[in-house]
């Protein structure tokens, strides 16, 4: 009586954990994480994750192979950087001349904000200068 139950428990215990078909595995998520950061050499405007180009699909295959071999995401990114240069990164590194891309919008936004603030303050200020002039005119008239 007890034996079949024990056998069943043993069977369940040794059964490998296989994700159901179509499920997202850890490797899939890691591949996607790297592929989203790499630019497609053919389309040049999208990542190899989104691009339907044959080369992009093959590059994704390389990402998968290298991650499956035990390489880290950083090592896989470094492999593509060594082959294609910084251009392969969809998001440029925040260093050197690339900083222009990151800082110009911020600087322009700050200048625009300050200009707008000063202009609004000027427009909404009571016109003290004009009032003084009026007073002066009255005094001149009186004399």
């Amino acid at each position: 009586m007890i034996l079949p139950r024990v056998a069943l428990l043993v069977l369940l215990a040794v059964q490998p954990v296989v994700p159901p078909p179509g499920a997202d595995t850890v490797l899939d998520r890691r591949v996607r994480g790297v592929a989203q950061r790499l630019r497609c050499p053919v389309c040049q405007g999208e990542s190899i994750q989104e691009s339907p180009a044959e080369l992009a699909v093959q590059m994704k295959g390389v990402v998968r192979e290298q991650l499956a071999e035990g390489k880290s995401e950083r090592e896989v990114m470094d492999y593509f950087l060594a082959k294609y240069g910084d251009w392969i990164l969809l998001e440029p590194r925040a260093e050197g001349l690339n900083l222009v891309v990151y800082w110009v919008p911020v600087i322009f936004l700050a200048i625009g904000g300050v200009t707008l603030f000063m202009a609004v303050r000027k427009w909404t200020r009571p016109d003290a200068v004009v009032a003084n002039t009026d007073t002066a005119d009255t005094e001149v008239d009186a004399s």
Binding site: V42, V62, K83, Y84, G85, W87
Partner: protein
């Protein structure tokens, strides 16, 4: 004179920005510098599917070509495909350099990119033959290893196995000869 100050401020901010955009207009987005020149050429081991017509350059079909076996020779690696129009334009130039410099140990190889071997063989026949052999690149693994964007792209590898130069787009006989000769000259004068 408030408008004068406004103009000066706008100019001071706007002109460098316009200059930056103007500089950007001088750049060709297709000419992306490769990090490979000066570095060791990625190694490859590929099977010949088209032997080549030249007596010196030919390799039997099915033969395995290893880059490591070509140390001491200048190697010209040309990525091509039968569906690539620009590849037609450079075919005669590549063939000319291959035969002209074969006696000096320069070995040209074609590497098929995202194409089928029968298509490649047919294309070579249509082009009137090819003096140098062509190898297959399943899954474009070597192409990715060389940081390929498209075809044609050509790499000149020096006798030490370093990438001496990368050509993006079709080569001309004059341009390729110049690079090959400069590599040969560098070897001759250590």
């Amino acid at each position: 004179m408030d408008w004068k100050r406004a103009l000066a401020v706008t100019g001071a901010i706007g002109l460098p920005f316009i200059a930056l955009l103007a500089f950007g207009m001088t750049r060709d987005p297709r000419q992306i510098p490769s990090p490979l020149p000066g570095r060791s050429a990625p190694l490859w081991e590929r099977a010949v599917f088209a032997s080549g017509d030249d007596a010196v350059l030919r390799r039997p079909v099915g033969d395995t070509v290893r880059l490591t076996d070509l140390r001491g020779r200048v190697v010209v690696l040309n990525f091509w495909a039968s569906w690539c129009l620009a590849c037609r334009g450079e075919h005669a130039d590549l063939s000319f350099v291959a035969t002209e410099r074969a006696s000096q140990g320069v070995q040209v190889f074609g590497m098929l990119y995202n194409d089928t071997e029968p298509n490649g063989v047919r294309w070579i026949r249509t082009m009137g033959g090819q003096p140098y052999p062509s190898v297959a690149d399943p899954g474009a693994r070597t192409a990715i290893d060389y940081g390929l964007y498209g075809v044609p792209e050509t790499f000149v590898i020096d006798p030490e196995g370093k990438v001496a130069h990368k050509f993006i787009g079709p080569v001309t006989a004059q341009g390729l000869m110049k690079v090959v000769d400069s590599v040969l000259a560098a070897v001759a004068t250590p």
